[in-house]
């Protein structure tokens, strides 16, 4: 049967035909593009995806390029020697939304970066591939045990740290000088910290900066203050909370006093940028991590600043927290065995190249403490810790560190509410500690999962 004529008897297409044809064409064009997202490409031979926030480099900043180059070199070397190829996928804000959504949809990446603050959920979800079978015992022992412990269940390793990032106090030497303070005035106790900050502020200098945003990072930064006074969030292998204790109450009060006395700004200045804040005189003392060394190198290489360990309370013990990200492999990915082997090879090889690779990440691409003894030794011999600040972190701050705890969201939230309430909303530290402890205990009665202590 011949197709109906497209034009009217007069030879011109009628309006109706034209509209009908247009609609049909629109539908025909739109439909495949809409439905194309529903397809499922064959996953059998595709490279494993490695979601990270370093490479491919998102911009041309030299530090960013250096980190991207390390990631790319590592993956290129693996790809040259192995059949199972790996592909780097740049994934900003990997720590939360993107990763959570991908895993929820059953589309989690094969390899990804994870922080201890987030790892409990993944361990409890049984989605991390075990790395231990691909490592020698010598390699496992080469990692600093306390730092590695938060990535383990028993003696099984589920993620390998690529760096250790301890926290300390950074201070501005010009601010101290202008306030008539010398190195001898550097705070060693909490009392000193508040009185020195008070003198700085009274002299028209910037104050003492603690994080104030309500998030995981604030808890992470606050934990060492609690530990210094003997406080703990959970004890007895995670069976009960110990948050309602003098250590936690005192730490809550310290941060509360900082704000109440007008020493700690309620919102960190310069959009939370330590370098601008110091350079412009908006802040004089700032609790931050070892990563800030590179920030100063990049943005204000000539700025004169110092680093000291966190002051301790009377009768307390020096402590800091060790942050840092780790490589993990998805147990539900397309090739979990090879993904796990890659993680172990990249960060846990005991050959010279493997040791140098981890060291180079921590001294060339970044400014971090190496998570392995051998790499720290290698980095030290290579001069990576010769500078005043890197030496201070390696010799005095890092040895007092504890691995970042792995608490589930409910515990994180209880602690966060206590900190926020005391620091910014006039809450009473004792009441808030008791409230948080009750919430944590209530949660622990039904909690089933990895050891939280």
């Amino acid at each position: 049967m011949p197709p109906p004529p497209l034009s009217s008897p007069g030879g011109h297409p009628s309006r109706r035909h034209f509209l009908g044809l247009s609609a049909a064409l629109t539908g025909a064009v739109a439909l495949p593009s809409v439905l194309s997202g529903c397809g499922d490409a064959s996953a059998s031979s595709r490279p494993l995806q490695f979601w990270n926030f370093y490479a491919p480099a998102p911009n041309e900043d030299p530090a960013t390029m250096a980190r991207a180059a390390w990631m790319q070199d590592t993956v290129d070397l693996w790809n040259a020697e192995n059949d199972q190829q790996i592909e780097l996928v740049y994934a900003p804000v990997l720590g939360s939304e993107k990763l959570a959504t991908a895993f929820s949809a059953g589309e989690g990446p094969d390899i990804f970066l994870i922080s201890p603050g987030d790892i409990a959920r993944y361990l409890n979800g049984d989605v991390l591939a075990e790395l231990t079978p691909h490592m020698t015992q010598e390699a496992v022992d080469d990692f600093f045990a306390d730092n590695l412990a938060t990535r383990m269940i028993g003696d099984r390793v589920y993620a390998l740290p690529m760096e250790i990032e301890p926290l300390a106090l950074f201070y501005s030497r010009p601010a101290f000088e202008q306030a008539g303070l010398s190195e001898g005035d550097l705070p060693a106790t909490w009392e000193d910290l508040l009185s020195v900050s008070d003198r700085l502020v009274a002299a028209g200098q910037g104050g003492l900066v603690f994080p104030t945003a309500q998030d995981y990072y604030q808890n992470f930064v606050w934990y060492p203050w609690m530990w210094q006074g003997g406080g703990e969030v959970v004890v007895d292998s995670g069976a009960r909370s110990a948050f309602d204790s003098a250590g936690a109450v005192d730490a809550l009060r310290l941060w509360k006093d900082g704000v109440d006395l007008g020493l700690t700004p309620r919102v960190p200045p310069a959009s939370n940028d330590i370098v601008i804040s110091f350079s412009e005189g908006y802040a004089s003392i700032w609790q931050s991590g070892i990563w800030s060394i590179q920030d100063f190198e990049r943005k204000a290489p000539d700025f004169d600043y110092g680093v000291i360990p966190l002051p301790v309370p009377d009768g307390g013990e020096s402590a800091t927290v060790l942050g840092g990200w780790a490589f993990a492999a998805n147990a539900l990915g397309s090739n979990p065995d090879e993904a796990a082997r890659f993680c172990a090879w990249a960060l846990g090889s005991m050959d010279d190249d493997g040791i140098a690779r981890v060291a180079n990440w921590c001294i060339d691409s970044k400014r971090d403490i190496s998570p392995r003894r051998s790499s720290l030794e290698y980095g030290s011999q290579a001069g990576g810790y010769d500078s005043e600040h890197m030496r201070m972190f390696r010799d005095e701050i890092f040895p007092t560190g504890r691995g970042e705890p792995r608490y589930p969201p409910v515990i994180y939230k209880a602690v966060s509410d206590a900190i926020q309430s005391c620091q910014l909303a006039g809450g009473d530290p004792e009441d808030q500690a008791a409230t948080a402890a009750q919430a944590i205990d209530a949660y622990l009665t039904t909690y089933e999962g990895v050891d939280l202590a």
């Binding site: 609609a23 939304e97 895993f103 309500q214 919102v267 959009s271 910014l424």
Partner: protein, 324 residues
């Protein structure tokens, strides 16, 4: 396939129209034409309908279904019945965020309404540079909310921010706009109104342009003042527009502004800006509680549907009484 009889219920059923059964061959031709036009109409609507179905209707339906499951975030789904809803009403964080959202709603909807209407009345008449004023007032809408949040964050920085320094020059001490629980939510409200009022101004402006000029001319001849003119002409004839704004601004206030909250305050300080929509985001994407988040989301949908139905009923679908 439709028949001439069924097609008779369509256009031909209008008062005064010839009945299809009386039409004979002419009616059949008209019916075939109507069918073809209907087919064309459906084809034109198809891309939108497909898009809406795939990207709105199905996700909405799945979200409601999800609310009845405990989702572990790693592909595990356990049917839990109404447990997520029961948890919702026993969750002090949710209840406090709901209370905060209602307060936010009570301020924001009238705030957006009055600012939009006020600006529209100001720029409705022709005067020099009126186009520039209209553009300037609408301009924030074309900027990403993320950029808006960052700019305001910069302006509102404690002590050294632009606004703090401005106030300092006139001898006033600025509070911590975003760091003090007493000021954070009001600050978010002001920024949101500043950002959104241009859009509502535009809608009101369109409504005002539809009011015939003759009405105002007659009122002027009769000696009516500005308030009498507004009360007796502008306000009644703007009712359909007002209805639309009331409805859409409520929905926007309840479900929008997440990006602003995430960047500007992160729900803090001390949960003071944790509105329900932020709580949903937090539960789903920070804590991985997708089922619980879906339950709260579904609850929001029910509230908004009820509110919309009530508004439709009270205003007779936005026509009110005078237009009937």
């Amino acid at each position: 396939m439709s028949t001439p009889t069924t097609s008779a219920t369509e256009p031909a059923s209008r008062p005064g129209a010839p009945r299809a059964t009386d039409a004979g061959p002419t009616g059949g031709a008209r019916s075939a034409r109507a069918r073809r036009e209907r087919r064309a109409a459906y084809l034109f609507m198809a891309p939108n309908l497909i898009g809406l179905t795939i990207f709105v209707a199905i996700p909405m339906l799945l979200s409601i279904v999800l609310a009845f499951f405990r989702v572990d975030g790693f592909g595990g789904y356990d049917f839990v019945g109404f447990a997520n809803f029961e948890r919702m009403f026993a969750d002090p964080y949710f209840l406090s965020s709901l209370g905060r959202t209602l307060l936010y709603l009570l301020v924001m909807v009238p705030g957006l309404f009055l600012s939009g209407l006020g600006l529209a009345l100001l720029v409705r008449n022709k005067f020099p540079l009126v186009g520039l004023f209209r553009t300037a007032l609408f301009a924030p809408n074309v900027v990403s909310l993320v950029v808006v949040a960052l700019i305001w964050q910069f302006l509102l920085t404690d002590d050294v921010g632009f606004i703090a320094r401005l106030l300092d020059r006139v001898g006033l001490t600025a509070p911590s706009w975003l760091g003090d629980p007493a000021f954070a939510l009001p600050t978010v409200m002001v920024i949101t109104i500043w950002f959104s009022m241009g859009y509502y101004m535009l809608i009101f402006l369109a409504g005002l342009q539809d009011i015939p000029r003759e009405y105002y001319e007659v009122a002027s001849i009769d000696g009516a003042g500005p308030w009498t003119t507004f009360r007796n002409i502008t306000w009644p004839l703007l009712k359909p527009t007002s209805f639309f704004i009331l409805l859409t601004s409520t929905i926007a206030v309840m479900t929008g502004g997440l990006d602003l909250l995430v960047i500007l305050t992160g729900g803090g300080p001390a949960n003071s800006t944790t509105l329900v929509i932020y709580y949903v985001y937090q539960q789903a994407f920070v804590y991985g509680e997708f089922g619980y988040a879906a339950a709260i989301g579904s609850f929001l949908v029910v509230i908004l549907l009820a509110w919309s139905a009530l508004l439709f009923a009270l205003t007779k679908g936005g026509r009110f009484t005078h237009a009937q």
